[in-house]
């Protein structure tokens, strides 16, 4: 299989220490040690805290919107405020929460450990990305406080060039944010290429790494287009350059092409990392080799590439040629295939497994169900004639919430619960975790299933008022949103409880074969005290645990370690 030189390495077994005295959380103390850290794990946690805050803000805004929509006419928000609230809900959830969620927060924490590396390739650049993200958020917060924005997160021209709200600051904020995303992507690509532990060949790469790899490629290639688009919008507003203004010879639809050229791939920035998390979780909790490793790995790359060519499916009603619509519709269906393949692979992984329904697995199963619905409704929207009817209705709203929240957020929660012991060295209450998972599942479906129906019935999106006929659906939806809110509040408390007085976590509480579980919990300051050597893939459950704990000792501090067991391995992984 491997064509690389059969280098022989002297390895020994390193059983991870339980309850380590020194780990990355306490190796340095004080606020400054966090603010100036270049440790990918700490940066990951800082992202995690930031996205949690933005998820909270975005979530509260969603509840405000749903509450206003309880009745058809105005209740406690006026139209302007409503429009600002839905704009902020969308912009915050997408640019400040979803895009950085799995890559920047979970990915930063876990990627180098999964590779057996000490850190990402450019640790300082990594910290810089975080600060760029922070500066972007400050701009945006200032924009919100000094006058809000009411364009919708899509900033369509000419409305966005004419409205009196603070579009300039907001777009500048998102413009800045984009650089953070690009830099994280570059960092990950280089890390994956250059920092893999000895023996970690491309075919032994955890699927989470493959999907972060695919995501990073999209981040690096697509985000600059968003930057240019937003810059043009800023120039249009500030200088009146007329690129999008028909009165000056521009074209408002051009903006939509630019915008979706980024924002469709961005959908994959938001969902592909989730695929990686789900692959890890399903294999670990089924204690079984992942089914169709290459199919899952390569389908992520396929999605990343085809994903660049489907942006026009957002514009079937906007006035592009029928030929263009046909091509975009066709490619949209093509991109659905690799996604479907993944679902079947995950199911096949569960077949004859040893399935443990712990919280991360529950979230993964919720993901499978909700994301499948999201996918099927995507097929509806990709079908040209049906899309004409459904475009810009609540059907679309429900569809992307099934994909983004039912897909990505569930994957994020699966990953969070899965890696939580590695992050903090603590366990959380399994009982409360299940309760909150159940509430979120019920609430989610109650919130968004009715939106499919009212959308198909014709209820347009971004409506502050609506005709009476839709009220029952809106009321159900609002109930669902509240139930989901309760689920998240419970989660906040049991996770907080876990942090403060949770049970100590074992180094490998799930019995996983993956590399990140072969170090201490919480992880060591430099991930591993040794250089891990990989001879099996991360899903080889038929191999004994001891063979996943091999490595080469560092001769640090001048002392030389006396190996307890000596083994000789070839990089091919064939052993006596």
């Amino acid at each position: 299989m491997e064509t690389s030189a059969l280098k022989r390495l002297q390895v020994q077994r390193f059983k991870p220490e339980e309850n380590p005295e020194i780990h990355y959380l306490n190796s340095e103390r004080g606020l400054w040690s966090w603010l100036s850290t270049v440790d990918h794990k700490r940066i990951g946690l800082m992202y995690l805290a930031s996205i949690a805050i933005f998820f909270f803000i975005g979530g509260v805004l969603a509840l405000v919107l749903r509450t206003e929509l309880l009745s058809p006419a105005q209740s406690f928000l006026d139209a302007d405020v409503y429009n600002q609230v839905f704009t902020l809900h969308g912009a915050i959830m997408i640019f400040f929460f979803l895009v950085p969620s799995v890559p920047a927060a979970l990915g930063n924490f876990i990627l180098p450990i999964q590779l057996g590396a000490k850190d990402v390739a450019f640790p300082r650049l990594n910290l810089a990305s975080f600060y760029i993200y922070t500066i972007g958020t400050v701009f945006t917060l200032v924009a919100i406080i000094t006058g809000a924005v009411d364009t919708g997160w899509t900033f369509y021209t000419p409305y966005s060039t004419e409205t009196g709200t603070n579009v300039l600051l907001m777009t500048l904020g998102i413009f800045i944010l984009g650089f953070s995303s690009i830099l994280t992507g570059v960092n990950f690509i280089v890390t994956i290429h250059k920092m893999r532990a000895p023996g970690m060949t491309w075919s032994k790469l955890p699927l989470n790494v493959w999907s972060l790899y695919a995501t990073s490629i999209i981040q690096v290639l697509a985000t600059p287009v968003l930057a240019i688009t937003l810059l043009l919008l800023v120039m249009e507003r500030a200088l009146g350059i007329g690129i999008f203004d028909p009165a000056l010879g521009g074209d408002p639809v051009l903006f939509q092409h630019f915008f979706w050229f980024y924002s469709h791939p961005a959908v994959y920035i938001m969902i592909v990392p989730g695929f990686g998390v789900i692959s890890e979780v399903i294999s670990t909790f089924s204690r079984k080799h992942i089914f169709g490793y290459w199919a899952i790995a390569l389908s992520s790359l396929a999605i990343a590439f085809i994903g660049f060519l489907v942006w026009g499916h957002h514009m079937f009603t906007a006035g592009q040629s029928s030929l263009a619509s046909m091509v975009f519709s066709f490619l949209t269906f093509l991109v659905g295939i690799p996604t479907g393949i993944k679902i079947f692979n995950w199911l096949a992984t569960m077949y004859k497994g040893s399935i443990d329904l712990k919280a991360p697995m529950l979230y993964a199963m919720v993901f499978l169900f909700l994301f499948t619905i999201g996918g099927f409704t995507g097929i509806m929207l990709g079908a040209l004639s049906v899309d004409i009817h459904l475009h810009d209705t609540y059907f679309v709203v429900a569809h992307f919430h099934y994909v983004m929240m039912g897909g990505m957020v569930m994957a994020l929660l699966a990953g969070l619960h899965y890696w939580w012991p590695k992050m903090f060295g603590k366990m959380y209450s399994e009982v409360y975790a299940r309760i909150s998972c159940a509430l979120i599942f019920i609430g989610f479906n109650l919130a968004f299933l009715p939106q499919f129906v009212m959308g198909a019935q014709g209820m347009p999106r971004r409506y502050f008022n609506y005709i009476d006929q839709f009220q029952p659906f809106h009321q159900l939806s609002t109930m669902g949103a509240y139930i989901m809110g309760v689920g998240f509040v419970i989660m906040f408390f049991y996770l907080l409880h876990s942090l403060v007085r949770g049970e100590k976590a074992a180094s490998n509480p799930w019995g996983s074969r993956a590399l990140e579980w072969q170090t201490t919990s919480p992880a060591a300051p430099h991930n591993f005290e040794h250089t891990p050597v990989v001879i099996h893939g991360p899903y080889d459950y038929h191999k004994p645990m001891s063979e996943f704990q091999l490595g080469i000792a560092h001769g640090h501090h001048g002392e030389s370690h006396q190996p307890e067991t000596l083994e000789t391995v070839a990089e091919t992984g064939t052993r006596p």
Partner: protein, 313 residues
């Protein structure tokens, strides 16, 4: 099946609606079957293969080429059917029959204007002949709007400085709702109109009389009717509540502060100017969003509106 259709989709009132609904139901049915299968597999596997002990071993199944080809190719065939079906439906929507009856549509923030061949103009009320293809030639006066009739399954964006079109053929007489589905600002959700499909003769009748003033009405009654017909109610109330624009209530001879700080009296000249050139004087605290009614209202009609406003206090 009909019950499901009725619950999920609005009544199908145009010739193309059936085709759209057919595809919708096809995708829905196939998806439902697959979803049930997938959900069943999730639940069955997690029950059947529940972990019994920490020592459980699992078989090493890394892949299965036949199976993988099957679950790539079968979905591919299915989506290609959907693609072809959707595309043919779309082409039908885009190919306007040559004998279509043409109506001009103008989207303005936030109302719809319909111009007919004989010069008749209606606001927020579209009247069409049933059982005859109708082609709407649309453009916007400001930002992008989108013209959507759920019952007819048609939708098309309405763009500034460019014509777009949508055609349909209503299969029965009756009323349906028209929405704006492209977010266009404050009163986006009030940019609602109705389409009424008439029999051919009713339509001819309507067209001949629509803009003829009913001589039996007094100016005040006429003014009231005009205000309802021209979409003024979307932005102005008669009960004193503030909407997009100021309420008519008590406005006659009131003092108005303008954006530039000057004060004017709401007299007949001011009202007339406000209707024909709304942006000449902007009331303080309001946005310059009222569309001009130049060319839509005759002098006599404007007089009637003024008479009516005088009576609201």
């Amino acid at each position: 099946m009909d019950k499901v259709l009725e619950f999920l989709l609005p009544p199908a009132k145009s010739t193309i609606a059936g085709q759209v609904d057919g595809l919708f139901i096809f995708i829905l049915a196939v998806s439902a079957v697959l979803l049930v299968g997938i959900s069943f597999a999730i639940i069955y596997f997690s029950w059947k293969y529940k972990r019994r002990s920490e020592q459980d071993t699992t078989p090493v199944i890394t892949h299965n080429t036949k199976l993988e080809v099957a679950w790539s190719v079968i979905p591919l065939i299915l989506v290609m059917i959907v693609f072809g079906w959707g595309f043919t439906g779309y082409m039908n929507m885009r190919t306007v029959p040559t004998d279509a009856y043409e109506i001009r549509v103008v989207g303005k923030s936030w109302l719809w204007e319909f111009h007919y061949e004989n010069g008749t103009v209606s606001v927020n009320e579209l009247h069409v002949p049933a059982n005859r293809p109708v082609n709407l030639v649309m453009s916007s006066n400001d930002v992008i709007h989108s013209f959507y009739i759920p019952d007819y399954r048609v939708k098309r964006d309405v763009l500034p400085n460019r014509y777009s079109n949508v055609w349909f053929e209503a299969m029965e007489t009756g009323e349906s709702v028209i929405f704006c589905t492209e977010y266009c600002g404050r009163a986006h959700s009030n940019m609602i109109a109705t389409v009424t499909a008439h029999s051919e003769s009713d339509f001819e009748n309507w067209l001949a009389t629509a803009n003829v003033i009913d001589e039996s009405l007094s100016p005040v009654e006429l003014g009231k009717e005009l205000i309802a017909k021209n979409g003024c109610n979307a932005c102005h109330s008669v009960d004193g509540s503030r909407m997009v624009g100021p309420s008519y209530k008590g406005s006659w001879m009131a003092e108005r502060e303008l954006e530039d700080g000057s004060v004017v009296t709401v007299d007949a000249n001011y009202l007339r100017e406000s209707i024909l050139e709304p942006n000449a004087k902007i009331g303080a605290g309001y946005d310059p969003v009222m569309p001009s009614y130049q060319g839509l209202l005759s002098d006599r009609e404007i007089d009637a509106i003024i008479e009516y406003i005088k009576t609201i206090d």
